[in-house]
């Protein structure tokens, strides 16, 4: 078996093993993404975010916390592309390092909220009965709550701070994932292979964890992508109000908040961090919309 034939098989969707089938599926998804300029722009923005976060020390001309009090609130120039803030720190470098905070927030929220929602939803859909009824009632109630306000209340109780803010956002974010996972589990539970595993005597826990949960993952990822823009906006809002990350952190919401004080004399201090938040949100929105169009062709074509 040479690479060329493997590639052809994957491209034509004629897999010879389950691993190849998975590759073929990825390929088809990539082809559809390629056909949608909007989704591709989203992918590019998010890829740029990840690359910048990884290479931040190499890309940033100054340290994110390097102060130069002789150089306060300087307008954009050749030395300081986006100007300096009230401590003479280079805003361009701080925005570059801020990508790390954004990725940290987004990934941690996803890692807390999604698995919790996935487990509850998959169990709920597979087990049915009173557990399903109870879980769905609670989820429906939680879905009707206002997210930002509840996150604010949680952070007030936990105390301000980046990790507390992340926990608060995750605590208000799980209900949609329960709904998604349950819907998938409901269709999976009637399939033949689940019946076969049941006959072989597998425990319920084993079936849920090893056979139901993996099949719920693709739709969960789409939903996560769609939610990320909202997560970034709420996190930035908490940082802006002073309840999320704390100064001197190079977090975009915090930078916006301290720049706001000098908005009338030094517009760049708040404008550029906001622009960064806006671009990343737009990236996630574009990718999310694109994925939805691909998975739900009824809407567009």
């Amino acid at each position: 078996m040479t690479d060329a034939t493997l590639f052809t098989r994957v491209r034509r969707g004629e897999p010879h093993s389950s691993a190849e089938a998975r590759l073929a599926q990825l390929w088809r998804g990539a082809e559809m993404l390629w056909a949608s300029p909007a989704a591709l722009t989203g992918v590019a923005i998010i890829a740029a975010l990840v690359v910048v976060a990884l290479l931040a020390p190499l890309l940033a001309p100054y340290g994110p916390y390097a102060q130069n009090l002789a150089n306060q609130l300087q307008p954009p120039s050749a030395e300081h592309l986006l100007g300096t803030d009230e401590f003479g720190r280079d805003i361009f470098s701080r925005i570059i390092f801020g990508t790390r905070f954004t990725l940290y927030i987004v990934m941690l929220v996803a890692l807390i909220a999604a698995p919790a929602g996935l487990l509850i939803g998959a169990s709920s859909g597979y087990l049915g009965g009173w557990f399903d009824t109870l879980a769905m009632r609670i989820t429906d109630i939680a879905l009707a709550f206002p997210r930002l306000i509840l996150a604010l209340a949680f952070v007030t109780a936990f105390g301000p701070g980046l990790n507390n803010a992340i926990l608060a956002i995750a605590l208000t974010g799980w209900p949609p994932y329960v709904r998604i996972a349950r819907a998938e589990a409901l269709t999976i539970r009637r399939s033949d292979y689940i019946a076969a595993i049941e006959l072989m005597g597998a425990s319920r826990l084993r079936i849920i964890l090893l056979h139901v949960v993996p099949l719920c993952l693709p739709s969960l990822f789409v939903r996560l992508t769609l939610d990320m823009a909202g997560v970034i906006l709420i996190a930035a809002g908490l940082g802006f109000l002073g309840l999320g990350a704390q100064p001197p952190a190079a977090e975009w919401g915090v930078m916006l908040s301290s720049g706001k004080e000098y908005m009338l004399s030094a517009w760049w201090a708040a404008t550029f961090p906001g622009l960064a938040i806006f671009f990343v949100c737009m990236g996630f929105n574009l990718l999310g919309d694109g994925l939805r169009d691909i998975l739900d062709p009824r809407q567009e074509s």
Binding site: D140, I141, R147, L148, T156, L241, L256, G274
Partner: protein, 341 residues
């Protein structure tokens, strides 16, 4: 079962869901307020007190009672609109909220008005001109609207239209020299100034509310416009549209006489939901514009660890949100004959 019986059942079920959700909201705020690490006694009396005073306040707040008794006390007082006393204003939270809420209501109402007036026409336009440059342009402007943080939009507007151009009023609801000149009737300044016949002050109020209302309204118009476009596209695919065209109706009659009325119910519920979202967004916007509303009140309370005030605000905004969210389902059922099938 007849149609009215079925509707009655639906109504009963929906009311039960709303009550259960309100109960869940009260339970959640109770958990946040009582079980969280914050010490409510210290928050009330400060850190440097004698043990006797501490114990006395501890008992007065009912904290020596079993947790379940505390919870039902809490439910009882919430149902009587008693949210306790705010530590930082030293007033009952209910009275504080009644004082600041009209400002937020006025802001959110203006925001949803702007959002609908812009979002619905442009959503219709984008759907009718689907796939053209016009559609693309409208969608890009909407994408920007719901990707940009509302407080950032507010700051930019403030810099451009207040600081640089001087077209709009600055922070606050009124210029200082007009403060207290108009008697409070509804609490909504735009209406109060009109009732008092004070044209000059009305204009001043408009110039102050314009920027915060636009920064909220832009986000709202993006959401409403997006939904309008998608509702319209769903309808335009239906067969009756072809029939109407074959009959020889003008395109204008087809769109405004047939397609749009079929979207009306969905649009009403969308606008209602948007209003709930704007009440939330107002919390962030008010900080930027020093708008003396519920959002600013809650933000101040947060920095003073004033849990009663924060939870009171959470309950008020949360209840309106829940009511709009679930109430719109009922509205939908009443207004749309197709759901009666």
């Amino acid at each position: 079962m007849g149609h009215y019986a079925r509707f009655g059942m639906f109504l009963l079920k929906q009311v039960a869901i709303i009550l259960a959700t309100f109960f869940g909201l009260i339970l959640l705020t109770f958990v946040i307020g009582r079980v969280m690490p914050l010490d409510p006694v210290s928050a009330a009396v400060g850190p440097d007190v004698t043990q006797e005073l501490y114990d006395q306040v501890y008992r007065e707040m009912g904290l020596d009672q079993p947790i379940i008794v505390q919870f039902f006390d809490y439910v009882g007082s919430v149902l009587q609109f008693d949210f306790g006393r705010s530590f930082f204003t030293n007033q009952p939270v209910t009275r504080d909220i009644a004082r600041v809420f009209p400002a937020t209501l006025e802001l959110a109402l203006c925001g949803v008005l702007i959002g609908s007036l812009i979002g619905i026409p442009f959503g219709i336009l984008a759907a009718v001109k689907r796939g053209t440059v016009i559609d693309g342009a409208v969608r890009v402007v909407m994408l920007i609207g719901y990707s940009a943080p509302v407080f950032w939009k507010g700051l930019l507007l403030l810099v451009v239209f207040y600081a640089a151009l001087g077209w709009a009023g600055g922070p606050g609801r009124l210029s200082i020299y007009y403060d207290g000149l108009v008697p409070t009737r509804t609490g909504l300044l735009l209406i109060d100034t009109l009732l008092a016949g004070e044209w000059v002050i009305f204009k001043d109020a408009v110039s102050h509310i314009a920027l915060p209302a636009i920064s909220l309204g832009y986000g709202a118009s993006a959401y409403i416009g997006r939904m309008t476009r998608s509702f319209m596209l769903d309808q335009l695919k239906q067969e009756y549209v072809g029939v109407a065209r074959v009959k020889g109706l003008s395109e204008r009659r087809v769109i405004f006489g047939h397609v749009l009325p079929n979207c009306a119910v969905q649009l009403v519920t969308t606008v209602a939901l948007t209003f709930g979202i704007l009440l939330e967004g107002a919390v962030l916007t008010e900080t930027v514009f020093a708008w003396p509303g519920l959002g600013q009140y809650m933000t101040k309370a947060m920095f003073n660890a004033d849990m009663n005030a924060v939870l009171g605000g959470t309950l008020v905004i949360g209840s309106i949100f829940v009511f709009l969210n679930l109430g719109s389902d009922i509205l939908y059922r009443i207004l749309d004959p197709r759901t009666r099938a």
